[in-house]
């Protein structure tokens, strides 16, 4: 059945191309790479899934527990699949995956405000008052890794929650995220974790071809120098390709076995991670899944930190560990880099509200898959958690490592007009120990 269907979409798409080319003067032969890919047994393309922890998770209750120290609070440590590496009791699932996971416990950044820190960690550049509109990580990766013939966008953002309004910046609309909304944890809510309106209006798929032709004709009247018109064209072209293939079926989570859906967790983040895997399988190079709040609080745990983080981890841990297992089972883990991070960590001292406040001086992130050498800890914090005592890592270092982990030369540039903009802000050095 899937054979027939993919053949149908394939041929329809090519017809469509031919029509578009004859009307709009585009000339290309897009079916050639597609055929080559279908024939060969190529290794899966590189991809990145970012688990974005908006609000700034506490490192002490996740990746860098300090049991026995006053700053550690009541949080206990548990052993993991790698002898000598311990995690907080909140992450038993991740503990079992530790062989593939590398922890960085020595993040040292300088931004303690949600908005500014988000901008730093999402773009790799410190906010400098808007001189350059830096693209977010997803747009950077989409720009480098998006296959030319893919009907899906190069960057999908699932249920995003962020402090600040960030996007593809100077890389332009072709690398803006497809935002998949997920306004609710209720799986039955309309439009939750899906893309609506993929059916051709009027029901006849062949009409799409004719409409595309007519639209191309009308576009000739729009001034080509207008940024808004350029963006409109880019967005419509991407939307058309999604309709042609019905998004390659990526959004049909119902196709997945019940047990697997349960294992990811029947909540927005869990099902979002499952959707991320389906998108990566279909060639999307970057997917971002956000987690900012759960039943009992959020990562921004100024009050009652311990119950908040524990509640967050009940959502996080099953989804994260199932994602790693699932990717491995499908042979995708070696090509897919899974990044877990927020905009900063939390203060080691516990405040009078049993909370922890913003803390950029010493905090943790986790990397797995791709070319990351798992089963290790990089960097170290002091016994009280107040400072990095070993191998400090900046946002630029992390960005350089991520790019290298995806096979991208971190010393490269992007072009903004004639001006080269380094992919990674100056001073960023890839951490060789973390790379295979």
């Amino acid at each position: 059945m899937s054979m027939t269907r993919s053949f149908e979409t394939f041929s329809r798409r090519d017809l469509f191309r031919i029509a578009a080319a004859s009307l709009g003067g585009i000339s290309c032969s897009p079916w050639l790479p597609k055929l080559a890919r279908a024939a060969g047994t190529k290794r899966p393309p590189k991809a990145c899934i970012l688990l974005w922890m908006a609000g700034g998770p506490s490192q002490m209750e996740t990746l860098d527990p300090k049991p026995g120290h006053r700053n550690g609070g009541p949080t206990q440590a548990i052993s993991t699949a790698v002898p000598g590496i311990e995690l907080s009791q909140n992450l038993p699932g991740l503990a079992s995956q530790m062989k593939d996971v590398a922890l960085v416990r020595s993040m040292k950044t300088r931004e303690g405000d949600h908005g500014r820190a988000t901008q730093l960690m999402m773009t790799g550049y410190r906010p400098m008052g808007g001189m350059t509109d830096y693209p977010v990580l997803g747009s950077l990766i989409s720009h480098r890794l998006k296959p030319a013939d893919s009907p899906l966008p190069g960057f999908v953002s699932i249920a995003p929650f962020r402090f600040g309004n960030l996007g593809s910046g100077f890389l332009g609309p072709d690398h803006s995220p497809l935002v998949v909304s997920g306004a609710s944890n209720d799986p039955n809510t309309r439009a939750n974790l899906t893309v609506e309106n993929l059916d051709v209006a009027g029901g006849n798929p062949d009409a799409l071809l004719e409409r595309q032709g007519l639209l191309n004709m009308l576009r000739q009247g729009a001034p080509s120098s207008s940024p808004a018109a350029i963006k409109h064209a880019s967005v419509y072209d991407q939307a058309m390709r999604m309709v042609e293939t019905r998004g390659e079926g990526a959004f049909e989570l119902d196709e997945e076995p019940t047990e697997l859906r349960d294992a990811y967790g029947r909540n927005r983040f869990g099902q979002g991670c499952l959707l991320a895997r389906r998108l990566v399988e279909r060639g999307v190079p970057f997917v971002e899944v956000s987690l900012d709040a759960a039943a009992q609080g959020s990562w921004d745990s100024h009050v009652d930190n311990f119950s908040a983080v524990s509640s967050m981890c009940e959502v996080l841990d099953p989804a994260w560990s199932t994602l790693l297992t699932d990717l491995r089972d499908r042979g995708l883990l070696d090509s897919t880099l899974v990044v877990w991070m927020g905009e900063f960590g939390r203060t080691p001292q516990i405040n009078p509200n049993r909370g922890r406040d913003h803390f950029p001086d010493a905090w943790s992130v986790a990397l797995a898959g791709g070319s990351i050498a798992g089963g290790q800890v990089y960097g170290k914090t002091s016994a009280d958690g107040m400072e990095v005592s070993d191998n400090p890592v900046t946002a630029s270092d992390l960005y350089a490592t991520l790019l290298e982990g995806l096979g991208i030369d971190s010393g490269g540039d992007n072009a903004m007009g004639n001006r080269p903009i380094p992919l990674v802000d100056e001073g960023g050095t890839p951490i060789r120990e973390l790379l295979e």
Binding site: G112, D113, G129, P153, G164, N165, S176, P177, L178, V179, V180, S181, V195, E196, N197, L198, D199, V200, A201, G202, A207, E210, R211, G213, L214, L215, M217, L218, R219, Q220, G221, A222, P223, S225, S226, P227, A228, A229, K231, H232, A233, V235, Y236, Q238, A239, M240, M242, V243, H302, V303, N351, N353, G355, D357, H358
Partner: protein
């Protein structure tokens, strides 16, 4: 001098100023000519004017919130030589037979725009914005002067005053202070909340001095890393420091801040002594209508160059002298050569003036569709999309991706898909269900050319070019039979609705 006396004097001056100019320039014509001349000093000669049809599309979208109907276009053409000025007067000042409708539509259109100014896109809103929008619409309909509206927003007595703006943007003194300085003064103070501003002169005591005016608003939300009340009005505590109420550009705190401090803040905010208030106001109205602010980076007014700033200051002063009369300012801007300039053509001076395409708002998209497609609008009609939830669904989806300025098209794939395949479009292009299509395709009075022309006029407010007519005639001629030929009009309509020209006002 006692306060009532000062107030009385201020009032008298305002009244005199108002009557004076009202007589001289009741519909903004003099101000408009002044802007034409003043603009030439900055930008040189204006670009060539747009066509009549483009002008009608612009003013209907900008002032009434939707595209004009075919009969409104016909009426406009009948207005004679001064038709552009007359149309502006009709829509802004509610002259002519459709007076009440235009006044109502214009007030709600302005209210929606100002709601998005007050609560900028991307803000996490605490509650429903409906009350705020109603408050704004009432004010615009009554013709309340702009300074008075802003004073009411400034001197709130509770989180629910002025449409509940305080509560909506977060319900804390610091979020309110940040918003007021952004909205009314074109100053982004938020950065100075945690540290002194990196590029301008704003310091933490400027930010917290403004926040201190609101420390005693009942119902403030306590956030653990936010501000704390000291128990005294006009004082606020943050990270161990206590700050006293202080207006911007002053070094010393307000005297006797426990007495009517917000009333005094409101008076300072809108007074001629405030260097940014009137300049920011006119810049915002200019942006609303022309697409780009006179100085584009509206919320960083401090960064404007000297010439831009001088233009804004002069225009702001005229707005103030005219009693902050909103309708007159709007009419005056719409009558300038800058407003009427053809899109995407530049002046030859530097910095150049260029009118970009303007992205229409989510509500303008729906209301224009409603107009173009002859959708039923009666509340008792069960098929009226306005009342079935179709409008809300469309406005919400489009509202998920709104640009920061009217020139910024921020829609993504989900928004495009809704325009391509959503329920309103599906119905519009279905010959059995679409009122517009039936009226056009089945009318015995139209030949094929006229059918195409009518669709263009209804949806895009223009006539098809010769090239377009020829392509479409060929397209229709290639249809094998009458049924597919009739259906093809649905596809033509689909393309018009989805063309860049529909959402990007030329």
């Amino acid at each position: 001098m006692s306060k009532p006396v000062v107030l009385l004097m201020l009032l008298t001056v305002a009244v005199v100023a108002r009557t004076g100019t009202a007589l001289a320039d009741s519909q903004g014509d003099t101000l408009s000519q002044w802007m034409d001349q003043r603009g030439e000093q900055l930008w040189g000669r204006p670009p060539a004017p747009c066509s009549d049809l483009t002008f009608v599309r612009r003013v209907y979208l900008d002032l009434v919130g939707r595209v004009p109907s075919v009969s409104e276009i016909r009426d406009f053409r009948a207005l004679g030589e001064d038709r552009r000025e007359l149309l502006v007067n009709e829509l802004v000042f509610g002259e002519g037979p459709r007076r009440d409708t235009y006044t109502r539509l214009s007030a709600s259109s302005l209210a929606r725009h100002w709601r998005r100014v007050l609560i900028s896109p991307g803000t996490v809103v605490n509650g429903s914005v409906q009350a705020l929008e109603t408050w704004l619409a009432d004010a615009f309909r009554e013709g309340k002067p702009y300074d008075e509206m802003m004073r009411e927003i400034t001197q709130i007595q509770s989180p629910d005053s002025a449409g509940g703006y305080y509560r909506l943007v977060g319900g804390t003194p610091e979020t309110y202070a940040g918003n007021l300085s952004r909205v009314m003064l074109g100053v982004r103070l938020d950065c100075a909340q945690c540290h002194d501003h990196p590029f301008t002169d704003w310091k933490q005591h400027d930010f917290w001095g403004l926040a201190a005016f609101y420390s005693d608003i009942n119902g403030s939300i306590d956030t653990p890393d936010g501000s704390q009340s000291t128990g005294k009005s006009g004082e606020i505590r943050f990270e161990g420091e206590t700050y006293r109420a202080k207006v911007l550009w002053e070094d010393t705190a307000l005297d006797d801040a426990t007495r009517a401090s917000r009333v005094r803040l409101a008076r300072w905010m809108t007074s001629p002594q405030n260097p940014n208030f009137a300049a920011t106001a006119v810049n915002r109205f200019w942006q609303l209508l022309v697409g780009r602010g006179l100085y584009a980076d509206i919320e960083n007014l401090d960064l404007a160059n000297e010439d831009e700033r001088a233009f804004l200051d002069d225009l702001g002063q005229k707005f103030a002298e005219d009693g902050f009369h909103v309708q007159r300012l709007i009419a005056a801007i719409c009558k300038t050569n800058w407003y009427a300039a053809r899109a995407m053509s530049e002046t030859d001076s530097d910095p150049t003036f260029r009118r970009e395409l303007k992205v229409i708002s989510p509500e303008q998209v729906f209301d224009s569709l409603e107009q173009s497609l002859h959708l039923p609008i009666s509340r008792i009609d069960p098929a009226a999309p306005r009342w079935t939830g179709a409008r809300a669904q469309m406005v919400n989806r489009l509202g998920e991706a709104i640009g920061e300025t009217p020139e910024d098209y921020a829609s993504g794939i989900p928004q495009a898909l809704m325009m391509m395949n959503g329920p309103v479009t599906s119905e519009a292009i279905d010959l059995d269900r679409s009122r517009l299509l039936r009226a056009v395709v089945e009318s015995p009075f139209f030949d094929e050319d006229q059918r195409i022309e009518t669709l263009y006029l209804a949806v895009l407010t223009r006539e098809p070019s010769e090239a377009e007519k020829q392509s479409l005639t060929e397209y229709l001629d290639n249809k094998p039979d009458e049924t597919t030929r009739r259906k093809a009009f649905g596809d033509i309509l689909w393309a018009l609705l989805n063309s860049p020209e529909f959402v990007l006002c030329r």
